[in-house]
Amino acid sequence: MQHRTLKTAFAALVAASALVLAACTPATDGTTPGTTADASGAPGTGGTAIGFITVGPKDDYGYNQAVIEASVIVGEAFPDMQILTAENIPEDDSAVATMEQMIDRGAKIIFATSYGHLDAAQKVAAAHPDVVVVQQGNAIAGEPGANIGTYFGTVYEPMYLAGIAAGAATETNVLGYVYAFPIPQTIANINAFIRGAQSVNPEATVVTVSTSSWCDPAAQREAANSLLSQGADVLTQHQDCTKTVIDAAEAAGVYTVGYHADASELAPAGWLTGAVWDWGPLYVDIVENITVGDFTGGPFNANYRVGYKTGTNPFVLAGYGPSVSAETIALIAEQQAWLGSDEGSPFLGPVLAQDGSEAVADGVIPSYDELDGMNYFVAGVIGNLAN
């Protein structure tokens, strides 16, 4: 009995494999009409669709939702293009398969929008010289290929400004920060936030609690509670879903600084301000640049960083809550102008690390590239980096 099942199943498998192999060879050419590039032949031209992959769900009130909202703006700007979006794409090799599926559907431009999508993005770009893949938030080490680039805003600049609002608002001088994992982006945000706060309130400290998850509402709630019990009277966060922490702060009657999305309606009393995404204009610029065939060698064929110094930062400051004084608002406007000038930076030296050692020398402004790889906490941060 076992023997017969075995034989049948084996025969079936062999037959299936044969079928597959037969299907493989001819289909390769047939499935991707228009593989041959446009007249210009430049990567990313001649497509009929634009793909966006996100690591989380489309409506997380946070990072991924901001991407999807901007993809709609791209669709409006390029009505001939089909907008393909795929959510919950893990930061592993299955992202490659999803991007391949998008290419099968006519996409020549793909936005891989999570920090951890970079490896997959590079793999797809290498396999498809006619497709441009742009990755959001990470940085390519060394020289990028002709059809790939990364882009990001300088998230920590608006977080520095929000820190000013927090430093002015706190009465306990304890700020609370809920984060997921110690990646450089998060570390730079936390550091900029406390430096902003200390610029108006040298006594301020920020207490950090990690949740070991980009979105686990119950863990976020517990983290918020533990910060509140330590006397934190301003809460902020680096999480993909942001509602829980904001809600916890509002319920406790303390201030909150938003992240990713303007959530002022969730905290009508305690909302100070927030750093929120506005990707639309930058996405449209990138697509425009690619479709006219200018990508290779252009500004986006690199680790493109846009901050207050270089143009329109896609990370913008949200509106102010009722408790923020006119004086503070004026100071923030002044500081924003300073950050945009050649002399300004949240990390203008001297910057002391958490242990008191000198991290940035007096008068030095670290470059955007250096700040992309930040891996230490500055003085005033209470917490440790998973060691």
Partner: protein, 365 residues
């Protein structure tokens, strides 16, 4: 053996032929309700799924049509199915062996991760100094040992402390995840200024691909494992004894079988297979450890094993089906605008149909 006797009979002899035909007819009649049950169960699952997606404004015919086209008419997708199928099949076999002895291994998820961790540890330590083939072999051995060790914790808890292995293997999944994250955020992280991940495995130490298909040899490993297990479970004393223990442990004990050793061996072999799945995913697909490594391979493998009723060779078909569904999930998003996780509904309904409505009714549990 009887089958051979039948075929040896001269087909010209009229009486023998009649017997052969009537035998076939009777076998067909016996199989008919079986086939009917399977067809009805699967149709029922598809129907319920159709109703659910139409609530969200999608046309079920289009949904299925797009999924089919997207999955089976593109060579890349077909290759992708085989790539995903390999670890799934091994993770399913990791459930099959303990199930033979009446044990439930829900820990594939963790055993896959631990296997990959061990493979990465050994692979990244040796890939600069040893030839690729040797590194691959070492990685496989390390992964097999690590997977067995991880399952061994659950085996120990079951055999020494009498704690149910389904519960402990499940809890160990969460432990392995934190172990993985710890390693890639701290000691094994390639660079603190880059994304949390290990260094990439040297190209020579990665699994080779089957000529021109882009599909790595993991699928061959999975097929061989399934066939070997079919023989081991069906033809060896160990296999028979496992089945006796699974059927009635008391009887096995009275018959003087080493029940504890048998249970231990079943769970260890299960863990080893899942560990091997982790190594294949690491050396064949991911080539570095990242957060989220191997997500759902263990759980989907568990479902595949039940779909195949814990029979090694049908496991290949179940793993193929679930891998195809996973590939088809992209189409749900790209073509139908449904959340990707919707595919879980279809997977669950299919399994429920098979669990509840394909077996001839037996005494309720």
């Amino acid at each position: 053996m009887t089958a051979h006797v039948d075929t040896d009979v001269d087909p010209q002899a009229p009486p023998a032929q009649a017997t052969w035909q009537s035998k076939l007819a009777r076998a067909g009649l016996r199989a008919l309700p079986h086939v009917g049950r399977w067809a009805a169960a699967i149709a029922g699952a598809l129907l319920i799924f159709s109703i659910l997606v139409s609530f969200k404004g999608a046309n079920p015919i289009d949904v299925f049509g797009d999924m089919w086209t997207s999955t089976f008419s593109r060579s890349r997708s077909i290759g992708e199915i085989f790539i995903r199928m390999a670890p799934l099949a091994l993770a399913a076999l990791a459930v099959v062996v303990p199930a033979r002895a009446g044990m439930i291994n829900v820990g594939g998820e963790g055993q896959v991760i631990v296997g990959a961790v061990a493979a990465a540890g050994v692979g990244l330590a040796t890939d600069q100094v040893l030839p690729g083939g040797v590194v691959l072999l070492l990685m496989a051995i390390a992964a097999i040992l690590a997977g067995a060790l991880w399952a061994g914790i659950a085996a120990l808890l079951r055999l020494v402390f009498n704690v149910n292995e389904a519960v402990t293997t499940l809890l160990l999944n969460f432990v392995s995840l934190d172990l993985l994250l710890f390693l890639i955020y701290q000691p094994w992280r390639e660079s603190p200024t880059q994304q949390p991940a290990t260094r990439q495995l040297a190209t020579e130490a990665q699994l080779p691909t089957l000529a021109a298909t882009g599909v790595h040899v993991g699928i061959v490993v999975a097929v061989i494992a399934a066939v070997v297990l079919a023989l081991a479970l069906g033809r060896t004393r160990w296999g028979f004894r496992l089945a006796v223990v699974g059927g009635n442990p008391e009887a096995a004990r009275r018959a003087g079988m080493p029940v504890t050793v048998l249970l231990l061996s079943a769970l260890l072999v299960g863990g080893a297979l899942a560990g091997l799945a982790g190594m294949i995913e690491f050396a064949g697909v991911e080539t570095k450890l990242r957060p989220g490594f191997g997500t759902q391979i263990g759980y989907v493998g568990f479902l595949a094993s039940w779909l195949a009723r814990h029979k090694p060779v049908p496991v290949l078909i179940a793993a193929f089906t679930l891998a195809a569904l996973a590939v088809g999930a992209d189409s749900l998003q790209l073509d139908s605008g449904l959340p990707a996780a919707t595919i879980n509904i279809l997977t669950a309904l299919l399994l429920m149909a098979v669990l509840g409505w394909t077996a001839f009714r037996k005494k309720a549990a």
